[in-house]
Subunit: 423 residues, 2 copies
Amino acid sequence: MRLVVIGGVAAGLSAATRARRIDPSLEITVLEKGADISYGACGLPFLVDGRVQNAEQLTVYTPEYFRKERNIEVRTNARAVTIAHGRREVLVEGGERLRYDRLVIATGARPASPGITLHTLEDGERLKRLILERKPKRALVIGAGYIGLELADTLRRHGIRVTLMQQSEYVLHREDPDLAALVRAHLERFGVELILGVRAPEAASGAAPGFDLAISAAGLKPNVELASDAGIELGRTGAIRVDERMQTNINGIYAAGDCAETLHLVSGRPAWIPLGTTANKMGRVAGANAAGGRERFPGIVGTSIVSVCGLGIGICGLSAAEARRDGFQPASARIGALSRPRYLGGREVGVELIADRATCRLLGGTVTGEDGVHARINVIATALHSRMRLEDFEQLDLAYAPPFATVWDPVLIAAQQLRKQIG
Amino acid sequence: MRLVVIGGVAAGLSAATRARRIDPSLEITVLEKGADISYGACGLPFLVDGRVQNAEQLTVYTPEYFRKERNIEVRTNARAVTIAHGRREVLVEGGERLRYDRLVIATGARPASPGITLHTLEDGERLKRLILERKPKRALVIGAGYIGLELADTLRRHGIRVTLMQQSEYVLHREDPDLAALVRAHLERFGVELILGVRAPEAASGAAPGFDLAISAAGLKPNVELASDAGIELGRTGAIRVDERMQTNINGIYAAGDCAETLHLVSGRPAWIPLGTTANKMGRVAGANAAGGRERFPGIVGTSIVSVCGLGIGICGLSAAEARRDGFQPASARIGALSRPRYLGGREVGVELIADRATCRLLGGTVTGEDGVHARINVIATALHSRMRLEDFEQLDLAYAPPFATVWDPVLIAAQQLRKQIG
């Protein structure tokens, strides 16, 4: 039996590793089109700003490691060009045909716009060189998703004046005007200009009028052409449709990671939110099932977190506007409270919670602040997985001691506030 | 209608405040036996070590505030001596009789042993003075619960050589020998000696052979005599038995806070774990119901957290030994992983998870480390509230970005490890 995995970053390598554990006798080959495998793309902004010193620090494992330690063959610079499922073959650039019994597609995503981007290790190293050599004074970053926000912070740390432009009125793809306003106010204090609701100038060349550097961070799109050409169905999000075992519409072909869609457990709808955590989890499940296991990936609740100019921003579930569009009757409450007592360095943390008026089910939350964001957004995320109702959320037995929290945790204060509002 | 609340610290004032919100016309009187109300007792170690500069910093509200802003009469130095429920009267020291329609008992707890203790604001100020004046060189702390551990750290910060003695083999009342060993090793690095399984010498006088200061932190006992004398039932824990509306066996009399027991949602048994968070939640529910509302306090999952010499220790649910005693078939896995990438200051965090072999239900967890403990223990606590199974826990969509976490969060790695073990 041979498993072929197309893609050697997060999902692909998780799939291969997990398949090996399930079936020690499986022949496993991973095809990676690029030169690098197994790198933490989320660390790229820190490579550019120097907190990560070199690309090797972001590379977790080498092809040699996989060969020796896991008996997995990983080929770099090996681009899959066709899946001929009738013959159970993948055609590799250069002409080689690779037979498979099971296939995992983990082709990832790519920047949606051309120009200078920050997507691969090479991108990161190129951008860092460019900044050091060209010494730009004014930079434009297009897109206020998490990569755009982190990039703005990175460039600012290099002493560059940054303008961040976003076509929608929102940041982090979150339909939440208050969050956008809060982030804009925070960025301003650090000299970063955030312009929302404006179409950015053409920047494919890496420059734009008035700026000596322009970077595209205007979202990703899933790499689905290879799958689609082979007759694999895409979902409404444009990414590959899979069931909860990560199998596509073709028996024996799985998809995982940024090329695949998943279920949003709050909205109950398919979602495409490309993130490393989800990619790894999907990959693990795809690999297990491709090797004969029986595992499931139930879906996501839309959690993400980012740090921008010292401000932590955590979001999960649905915003009030998103919940309304998804057919809920949302109520929301937003509070500010200390992350821990002021005498131990506490800072104000903002918490918004959204719940459904009809069922009191918690639907989402946002946590912002310079301290204590991570602990709170994870509580909301965990509660969303269990479809927790507000009255149960309000009674959560959360950890308290002055070095960590206040006696009424900010998320509990927000829950009390919201329940008062729902009445 | 008049509500009398006996006790003016956490639970009592939460009850009074909540009752006022529910019924603006209620007459509310709070009797506090001591001179201070509304203080954060959990901040006392930080008062002693100087990070809190004075007692006022720990006092949240004054009696005047309650009178003016909340129309609640708070009497200090007013000790309730008898509850005469037949006449609906509380007899106050000095002879006054106070009539009530509803009564909330929030009499708290007191140190289980005599001697120098750290329980009230006065205790904190007295201990601080004593250290500055007597300049002890060697101190004995009796009891390795969270107060004992924090006190050991506090004394060490004063340059005092500290020995911590605990009669059981465990720290933090957690039947977990590995945790005890880990804490001992950490304390040793800071010159604090932890001796387990030894009965401490008599120290009622504040001194002990070989030490020039001895402090008792050997646990608390609930103040239940007033209630018990009035015919109010105690539970098997020795604290006042209440239903989930916080009502005692006598209609119209509620109990809340450190004097009352509650339900442990993992073991399904009554528990008495006196903590400020629980006291406040119980008080809120008691106050709401005493004022005619209908609220419930479902119980706790046994969460606590403490910071000792820079080590965060979070525990919740049951340890493996405790789970076995409670009739489960526990399996446990313990892992070490980075709190976040090393290039952003990540440190090793230890996670132990315990689950039931029969049902795969998560039963408890421990998180230790110098970074990232709070975010992880709260995830486990929230999952325990929902009786989450390991296979669902493993797929939690937790927040990830390099400043906060690694792509596989330590709690997820522990869950994978544990599931592999259960098979």
